[in-house]
Subunit: 203 residues, 2 copies
C-alpha cells in the first residue's frame, strides 16, 4: 500500500502533528481526517471555508490541524451534540457538504466498531496502530457525505452591543439580560477568599 | 526593553505561531497570552491542567497555542458568554486561577481601550504593531486574577449511553431525548436533493 495522504499531508506527518497538538494519537482524528478529505474535495477550493462539527470530541482538533478554521478565529463552529459528523461549507454561498459515519459499514470493521462503541468510555485505550491500519484500509467506506445548504450564517457579522455587568463589573453582551451569565447563576467557580477579598493586579 | 516572553515563548516566535494557527496577528491572542501567563504561574506546575474560556473569540486559540489543552482533547472547555476571561485549574483538585480584563486600567491605554470597545465590530482593523507595543508595555496591569475553586469537573468522566436516532439513523447521546438534536429541529442545514436522495459513499 502506498503512503496514505490525508488532506494533502502524508499519514506519517499527520500522526506527528496529531501527537503535538492533541497530545496523543487519536483514531477519531484520523477518521476525522478522512471525513474532512471527502468534504473538502466535494466543496472545492474556496477562500471562504468554514466548518461545523457536531461534537466537541476529536473532530474539532482534526479541523484545526487540517484547515485554516479554528474556534478562536470563528471559522470553526462546534455544536455539542455528541454526533460524529461535520460540515464544510463556503460562508459566502452557504453551500457545503456534510459527512458522517457510515454506521452500516462498521459490521465489516471489527476494531473500528469496537472503538466507536467504546469511545465514550474512559480508560479503555484501543490498540492504535491496528485500529489505524483498519481505518486506512477502509477509508471512505467508513463515511457518507451529501451536499447541504446552511439555513443561515453561523457567525455574528453585526456588532454585538456590550456593557458592564451591574454585579461583577465585567463586560458582557447585553443580549444575555440585565446581568452577565455568570452573575445570573451559571458561574462554574467560587472565588477563594483566603487573605484578601480583592483581586490581584500588578501595578 | 528586553524581548518579552509569553508562557516561555519569545514574543517574536509567539507571533509567528499565532499567524500560522489563527491566520493573522491578533491583539486578543496576545492579551490572552498574558492572561494565561499569569494564570499558569499562579496555578503552578501540574500534569492535570485544564482551562475554561468564557468566550469563543480569540482566547480559545491562545489556550490551544500555549498549553496542551485543546477543544478536541477535552482539556479546554468553552462557554459562549462573550466575556474576555479564562480560568486555568487542576482537574484533580478543581483549584485554579481566574483571569479577566482590568477594565479600570484601560483609561490609561487608549489604543487597547479603542480595540476592546471596537472588537465586536467587523471590518475595523486596528494597527497591530502599535497596539501590540501598548499591550507589551502594560502587561499585567491589564489583568486581574484571583484563586477559584470549581463547583465540579466540567468533562464527562462516565460513559455516555448512545443509540441510533429513529429518524436519521445516526448515533447520538440518548440524554438528548427520543431523537438526535438535529432531528428535533435544530438542524443548521438542508440536504440538497439534486440528482439523488441517497447519500454518497465510496465502495
Amino acid at each position: 500500500m502506498s503512503e496514505p495522504v490525508i488532506c494533502g499531508i502524508s499519514y506519517a506527518d499527520f500522526i506527528i502533528r496529531v501527537e503535538e497538538f492533541h497530545g496523543y494519537r487519536s483514531p477519531g482524528i484520523l477518521l476525522g481526517g478522512f471525513m474532512l478529505d471527502a468534504a473538502l474535495q466535494d466543496v472545492g477550493t474556496t477562500p471562504y471555508l468554514n466548518v461545523v462539527t457536531e461534537t466537541v470530541v476529536c473532530l474539532p482538533d482534526a479541523v484545526q490541524l487540517l484547515t485554516p478554521c479554528t474556534v478562536g478565529n470563528g471559522f470553526l463552529q462546534i455544536f455539542d451534540w455528541g454526533k460524529f459528523a461535520l460540515t464544510a461549507y463556503d460562508r459566502m454561498t452557504l453551500s457545503g457538504t456534510r459527512v458522517w459515519l457510515n454506521y452500516d459499514s462498521l459490521s465489516r470493521y471489527g476494531l473500528i466498531r469496537e472503538w466507536f462503541e467504546r469511545s465514550d468510555r474512559t480508560n479503555e485505550k484501543p490498540p492504535f496502530e491496528e485500529l489505524a491500519q483498519e481505518i486506512l484500509q477502509a477509508g471512505r467506506q467508513l463515511i457518507c457525505y451529501r451536499p447541504v445548504r446552511l439555513h443561515r450564517a453561523l457567525k455574528d457579522t453585526q456588532p454585538v452591543p456590550t456593557g458592564r455587568c451591574s454585579k461583577c463589573g465585567e463586560f458582557y453582551p447585553l443580549r444575555h439580560g440585565s446581568a452577565c451569565p455568570s452573575c445570573q447563576g451559571n458561574a462554574y467557580y467560587d472565588y477563594q477568599t483566603a487573605g484578601s477579598q480583592s483581586a490581584r493586579h500588578d501595578e
